[in-house]
């Protein structure tokens, strides 16, 4: 095993029934040589990159389309970023924004897995003058 360590962030979709507590406990119970830190949005895991990828895949079995992950630059609890130590958190606005979109992503991935074709894009078209005139008269 290489000595390289990586930190990975696991985020739970707001449409999922999995809680950060359940996710952290499940990862703890795997008995892997990694550090787990529960957060409000999911958890942070730190350890060898290959282990983290396996843990991500294992954790996803609870909710395949409800748990999302990305690599994190800073280690878990780093004083430069950790809120507990008054660190700045400049990327949090983005995480919060993307968290809201995860519910749509979960729905989309569920439909994709069920083999449903996506709906056609709505096209904006001009309305005929007569129809436009009717609308104007209705407003008056």
């Amino acid at each position: 095993m290489s000595g390289k360590k990586e930190t990975r962030l696991l985020m739970i979709s707001p449409a999922s029934t999995v809680t950060p507590d359940l996710l952290s406990r499940t990862i703890h119970s795997m008995g892997r040589p990694v550090t787990v830190k529960e957060t409000c949005y999911g958890c942070l895991i730190e350890g060898p990159p290959e282990e983290l990828r396996e843990i991500r895949d294992e954790a996803r079995k609870m909710d395949p389309h409800g748990i999302y992950s990305k690599v994190r630059a800073y280690p878990a609890g780093d004083p430069r970023r950790c809120r507990a130590q008054h660190g700045t958190r400049p990327g949090y606005a983005q995480l919060e924004w993307e968290w809201k979109a995860l519910a749509h992503m979960r729905y989309a991935l569920d439909c994709e897995a069920a083999g449903e074709a996506p709906p056609a894009e709505k096209t904006r078209k001009r309305i005929p003058p007569r129809e436009f005139k009717d609308i104007c008269e209705e407003i008056e």
């Binding site: 690599v71 994190r72 630059a73 993307e98 979109a101 994709e112 709906p119």
Partner: protein, 144 residues
């Protein structure tokens, strides 16, 4: 294949690229080395002399240092990329990517490189998300 994502710190794009079997090129992975380096106290707010020199490859000397500093991190990733997914009109609050000039430069560098690029928008409802996932799957599976 290595896929550059823009915004380069996006969770959704990072996850989608990994789900469909490719390697995402992200800011987080690039910054991990700097974070662990003792020379830099507070990345990505500080840049080293090497970064400034590296940034000159992607932006001229008259370009503001903030853009050059960002390109010093993202430029080598663009050089390395085999394909890219770009989210247009990403919210400006996206942390370190809240610099429109840099984002314009990134799009220019990607187009100049001539790699396959998927332009998309952040989904605002379920149907938009379905269209986005279908396009992303088609694009990523087509990369081989």
């Amino acid at each position: 294949m290595k896929v550059f994502i823009d915004p380069p710190n996006s969770l959704i794009l990072f996850d989608i690229v990994e789900r469909f079997g490719h390697e995402p090129l992200s800011t987080m992975a690039a910054l991990q080395e700097r974070v662990n380096s003792m020379e830099i106290d507070m990345p990505p707010m500080n840049v080293t002399l090497d970064d400034v020199i590296r940034g000159l490859k992607y932006a001229g000397i008259e370009v503001p240092s903030g853009i050059r500093g960002r390109l010093a991190v993202w430029g080598p990733m663009i050089d390395e990329a085999d394909a890219a997914i770009v989210m247009e009109e990403a919210p400006f609050a996206f942390g370190c990517v809240g610099c429109e000039r840099t984002n314009v430069m990134v799009k220019y560098l990607l187009k100049r490189k001539g790699i396959p690029i998927l332009f998309a928008k952040y989904p605002e409802d379920g149907d938009e998300a379905r269209r986005f996932v279908a396009r992303a799957r088609e694009f990523l599976e087509g990369l081989g």
